[in-house]
Assembly symmetry: D3
Homo-oligomer: 271 residues x 6
């Protein structure tokens, strides 16, 4: 159950309208790696967690914080769309063809009347497919690490696309929290290992003896870029302690099989 | 540029038709974390890499290997759909209402005539949005780690949903390669650090002095699950060496702002 | 069964090319609240209606009219794309970087060769998910009311984004019909009530005694915006005649439950 | 800014596993008219509201309450998936072809490991396109009315698809709140009118003199269902007080226009 | 402009409910190659045609006919959902877990209340991306040929999935029209050639001297399947009369290029 | 199984950055008719082919070649994004509102850091729904013909949107291969007929006596465009040799049927 208060975690104040930046800012609101994604991903992971205690509680805490980040970016976009006439002044001909139009997301005005929405910088709607809650915390925390990395990368790029001091401050706040959250997920991964809950290879519980030894620890070279075999992933002890990495050219060990003819009532092309 | 040979990296042989398992197997072919995703993700990361050498070459090698995994699962699904008439025998009334129908993906027969397609286990088409190639290898290699973890998790679950020895062997092969690939990406992350190319927080190059110290290293408690503050992410030295983690209740530091009225030509509800 | 005639319900004549407006006009053709949506929504509601007579007949009439509106907007967009060279003159270098390019939908030329398509103003394809035909006319007629309101709102905004007298006339026609259609659906809602076919709460037939009295007629305050409790929805008699509205702070009446451990073969993180 | 507490607004307790009902229950979680939609729709409408005060505060209150409903249904689905092995017992051949498989959403196990996700009953992901926040409260409140009607309709249908007393109680709670929320939006519509903020036709501010009188107040008959002209929408005074409804057969008033030839560099088929 | 009449082009009468077949029948209503697609594709091609006369008129005629096919399949699905209780009898426990549930599309009842919708047999919504109207009639008529082939193929498969004589008759009608329409498009392709409007290679107007002779008329062998070079496409005169087909192994003629480093403000991994 | 080499089939070298053209070039990479589509479509058709030999081998060869075309266009887009700062110089205010921004795909920088992705020219992700592998080679080869026609049409249009000699050469190469591939599929269609594998109407194996003679070979006029009946498709011998084409006005031969009332537990509007 949630409660809401109107004052935000950090101040949001655009100093001037900028619909072109509003369009770009949508990416970290409703894009694949935006705030909608981390909020929903952490909440669903928390709700679905079958292990009670610190991990589940932590997921609920951060998911709830991220909901507030969604709110902050919505507010910022709304301010950037303030008083930024997207339309021809009624007494001017031809202005609908001004270059300003190209900078904007047309749905910001036609559909939303000057407001943000859960879509990305090209106007593509946010999708529930962007989030994963697999039931395995080790796998999911690695996803959460990259989510915070992709997110920090995107806001770092946006930092250079605006000169508005209020927007720059908001971005600095988001960058700071993404930094913290990267460390949080990395620490949680270590804690999962320390608590004996899982390990590489994830899932650790699947019996290793079912694996095929000849395909383990071998980097397979399927391209002609020879430098690939010089990396750490092809030389020295593998991190699971089970032996040394090696490399080999890709080779076919299976048989080229022909398919059986189809049922004639499927009207496919049969022999 | 690619070349193809018909014999596969590992043998693919279903011992009996099983359209119900064929439907499920689609998840690791065309689902968010399936072979289409890792093949395309690694290839796009490789093609877009602006750093020549071992990382780029490695991405091309593994992406190309994964293309072959796509082919292997397609072949497996096709075999599972062999001679498995999804239709009523023409001389039997009522059989279209048999429970068999519920087990199948209707598009396997109606659309594909007994073949696989790049869709997931519910028939939802694979999407280009499933992949990310951000230009930052550190962020992307963390995504690749979780991709191999999610993938290995899914095939481990599928391992228990079939009794076909050929399918179990194929799954064991996939599990083995996912194990190797998890180690490969983890090693590559270490190598990126060793090569001084990036580090946590990603991207390391964004100047830390732009961050707000008061929001760094603080786990923010926004839910009433008290165990959350007991984790490693809220206590002890933060992994970036910049200080200790601490925790605090979420609080509003910003101002609740009212939006300006909209342009009257937008016909929104204004004060 | 349908028949078609080439002359339109209202004249369509753009006076000059305007690819920037063509891009925007797509919103009311193939956007969520565009003519494709109302045409298909009304037709599917009519086809699925299990109550013969005036409601069903009316749905078929208006759905068919809206198909003609689809045709009219397609024609308008095609005219706006006439002779509006989207490409560099072959003898001019660098012109592909002119600001004109930003104004256009690139698919209007590359994909359609100067034609409209069932996509919105950002090029996102129309989706069958935009329409609802629930089988309950009361619920659906309320959807139809808002569809005509959202539609009229959007064309009213577009009215200010063009100076072309032909396009302004077409928009005036669309605005007029949206006005009529709002009244039509509101009248049809009243008639459904008068005919005893349904009422608030929709569906009326679900037995009220199954509801929990303590949660009925209470506005629940889950945010700190205190003005919320001053509205009509929190004071005075509720419109269903069953008692007075009241307001209360949100409170937890249920138990915080822990989930059972998962099946070990799912390899989730279990206690 | 949000805070979360673990105890829910209403108790959630499934008495027995039922993966078939879990699949169906997804509809009101992540479907077009599910709790994700109303939560996000009301929050975005509130965040984007340019009119401060009771309407905005009310939107934030109800949106926040709905977030808790999302949580409740997630918990319910998770419980329904408890201990409901979707997989063959390892010692039983052929059981993967049992009819049980057809009842389930395969992603509930393969992807989520026994958890809910923001997708509908066919596994289609929730989309940001499901919500609308137009900036015009009158248009949006009518959308909100139908959302609560469609929602109540769907849970009323689900009420008959389960025998689990805990699930039936949860559904009764949801039905009760949907009843309240229908009345809430209807009251808010009346209050908007009473406050002079908008009226039919929405948007009222668009000048009526721009409309074409000959197309106003006329029900246009484009189908041969004659009963259509007997309805209230074709007879008697129109609700805007501007005159009487009438009906007329559809007729072409515009000219059938030929399009100009396309630019030859588009390689279309030209005269 | 369209008009509608209630009687259909061909009779639609299901003899008994069959929700399992209703689910499958959705494929040819709202699937990629269903009636929604051909109706909309032909209408958009007609509306966008910049060549007046017989081709445009023909497109409008067939598109309008196909709209009636949409209506017929909707009616058929509705009948198949008649009196087919998808829900547990209220007095029977456990029946929600009957195998019948697996056969059905849950949205047919929960969302539509016993009605069809523009979605495919897995419930995926019809998409505007399914249709193409390129402005080039030769390219589009070839698309139309395959649309009628894919469509006839699908209904031929469906023919064997039902025993209902009414449904079999309807399918026979659809198969007959698809036969006619295949011939229609093939004849129209010949007529386009005879009228000198286009030819292979499409578009013929692009100057052939811009092509690279060394890559023309060569079948390129990139796989080890040797039979590929035995086909007509690798031997004998090419159909454009410009020379003989030949075959060659794929070979690299370009340079393996390294990309330039990225802008440092993009924070990618640079040399 | 695949192998990769870094040198491409044809050289790729952009002479200067051009992010506006990079945005447009995405259409033939990740659009509906782009290289992703043909590569995947031919590979899936080959993998699923149940007829071994020349057709299957040919599909694998061309699908593999097309994978290399994907790589080439990715490289080209990456070069076009080189050194083309999409961001304000840090020392210049206001430049984020320059018209340059409108020309670009914002995700090229914010998401990809200067790289291509499998999306179209409006940023919509490539979809597995773009491809079809029906199991019937005759139907699919006709799809392949139009794919190469639509593709050649699009690159011919793009040819006029750039002045970069390297890009023009690449486009000339693509146009040449599309020309060859059109001829390849047309020849393969003839070969399928010559080999007796299928014929018009596709699928030929469905018994013709199941068709309704009165609906065969009749062009049905459902629009008032009279020229439609002058075409070859309405006059003279039909290509299947079964009789002459004729034309007739559309007419209703079926009965206008009323639907049965729905189950009361669906709460629809019933008589
Ligand atoms: Ca955040
Ligand atoms: Ca793999
Ligand atoms: Ca309309
Ligand atoms: Ca609710
Ligand atoms: Ca048809
Ligand atoms: Ca190609």
């Amino acid at each position: 159950m949630f409660t809401h208060q109107k004052a935000p975690q950090f101040d949001v104040k655009a100093h001037a309208p900028d619909p072109a930046f509003a369009r770009r800012f949508q990416e970290v609101l409703g894009g694949k790696w935006g705030e909608m994604t981390v909020a929903m991903q952490y909440l669903y992971q928390g709700w679905n967690a079958r292990l009670p205690g610190k991990y589940r509680d932590m997921l609920m805490a951060i998911g709830t914080e991220e909901l507030g980040h969604v709110e902050m970016i919505v507010t910022a976009i709304d301010q950037l769309l303030d008083k930024a006439p997207p339309m021809a002044p009624d007494d001017t001909t031809g202005s609908t063809q001004s270059s300003e139009f190209g900078l904007q997301n047309p749905q910001h005005t036609i559909v939303n009347g000057g407001g943000a929405y859960p879509h990305d910088s090209n106007g593509i709607p946010w999708s529930g497919a962007y989030i994963t809650a697999s039931g395995n915390l080790m796998a999911d925390f690695h996803l959460n690490v990259t989510a915070e990395m992709q997110g920090r990368l995107q806001v770092s790029r946006l930092f250079h696309m605006t000169d508005d001091p209020g927007m720059k401050d908001l971005i600095r706040f988001l960058i700071t929290r993404d930094h913290m959250h990267q460390m949080q997920w990395l620490s949680a991964i270590e804690e999962l290992k320390a608590d004996g809950l899982d390990n590489v290879p994830v899932p650790e519980a699947f019996p290793l003896e079912e694996e095929f030894g000849e395909f383990a620890r071998t980097f397979i070279q399927a391209s002609d870029g020879e430098a690939a075999t010089e990396g750490r992933w092809a030389n020295g002890p593998a991190p699971d302690g089970g032996g040394d990495f090696r490399s080999a050219l890709i080779q076919a060990t299976g048989e080229a099989r022909e398919l059986a003819p189809g049922d004639p009532r499927l009207y496919g092309t049969n022999p």
